[in-house]
């Protein structure tokens, strides 16, 4: 499955996400939030809700336990 692409600097690989919500917790600018979309394993995914607010601090990328997030820096 290709990575979920948006115009945002944050890319979330849907098939790796397990919906733990840590990225949402760590984001200092509330860029991310949990969505109702599911991946094929049945986990609710994180989504990039406010891409314009992103300051590229990479906190979500560093703390994602499944290395599912990449931040374009």
């Amino acid at each position: 499955m290709p990575a979920t692409k948006s115009k945002s600097p944050v890319f979330i690989q849907a098939e790796l996400c397990k919906g733990c919500g840590l990225c949402v917790y760590y984001c200092p600018k509330d860029v991310l939030e949990m969505s109702k979309d599911m991946n094929e394993k049945g986990y609710n995914l994180a989504k990039v809700a406010r891409p314009d607010d992103c300051i590229k601090c990479q906190q979500c990328e560093i703390n994602c336990p499944d290395l599912a997030i990449t931040v374009d820096s």
């Binding site: 949402v24 917790y25 560093i62 336990p65």
Partner: protein, 243 residues
């Protein structure tokens, strides 16, 4: 793992000259995921292996990944001896405060009073402070951070990788599956991270706090850095002396 990879990248660690050692546990899978020479074996015996590797080929960098079960409980004595000898390895202890892989049993680092699957009415034992143990035993670099302070944790891992001697980096980490469920009554990773961070005090804050106040707290910071002769250096010198 993410922290370690970033730290290794920042200090230009040569992965061709690296051996990652892990035992059995939640943390011990890390060497398996890395593209380096790795050793993965029985529970708690990570430091004897690291000692063997270092004595056979002292030029290799050795990083040990272990949990609180591996170094505080089953490998406790190995940990003390390795710290005493000042073996030149970096030990990353991911402390999730319980034996998580086997079902959330109480571990030596579980804070007093908390419920686990084997202490349904609360843990009666005070918890183990690994850093104080390592300091007394003779480790030469000691730091402790939690998963809510990733930047500091990465920085201290960089320092530990560059340090000559026994370097301990303890990361208090969340285990929502078992620790969260039994001890805190939540399965949410974010709530467990928040709980850990609320319980953490920096070294500076801890100076003004009494012993009772600090009893169920995690003191975080880069706690100790000193210079001592390393074990393999001493052994090589002794061998040269015999020849």
């Amino acid at each position: 793992m993410s922290y370690f990879l970033r730290a290794a990248d920042h200090v230009d660690l040569d992965f061709d000259n690296l051996v990652a050692v892990g035992g059995v546990g939640c943390t011990a899978r890390i060497p398996v995921y890395l593209d380096v020479d790795a050793l993965h074996g029985i529970h708690g015996r990570v430091l004897p292996w690291a000692t063997g590797i270092k004595l056979h080929k002292p030029e290799l960098d050795v990083v040990v990944f272990a949990g609180d079960g591996g170094v505080a409980a089953i490998g406790g004595n190995h940990f003390i001896q390795a710290a005493r000898r000042n073996l030149n390895v970096t030990v990353v202890v991911v402390n999730n405060l319980n034996f998580a892989m086997t079902g959330g049993q109480v571990s030596p680092s579980t804070p007093k009073g908390l419920t686990t699957s084997t202490t349904p009415s609360g843990n009666v034992e005070p918890s183990f402070d690994l850093n104080k143990l390592a300091e007394t035993a003779g480790a030469s670099y000691i730091s402790r951070w939690n998963t809510a302070r990733s930047a500091q944790a990465i920085k201290s891992m960089e320092e530990a990788l560059e340090h000559e001697g026994f370097s301990l980096v303890e990361i208090i980490s969340q285990c929502p599956t078992h620790f969260g469920r039994y001890a805190l009554g939540t399965g949410s990773p974010t709530e467990v991270v928040q709980w850990i961070d609320d319980k953490s005090v920096t070294e500076k804050e801890a100076e003004d706090m009494s012993e009772e106040e600090l009893e169920d707290r995690f003191v975080i910071g880069n706690l100790l850095k000193r210079s001592r002769p390393t074990f393999e250096g001493n052994v090589m010198k002794a061998i040269e002396g015999c020849q």
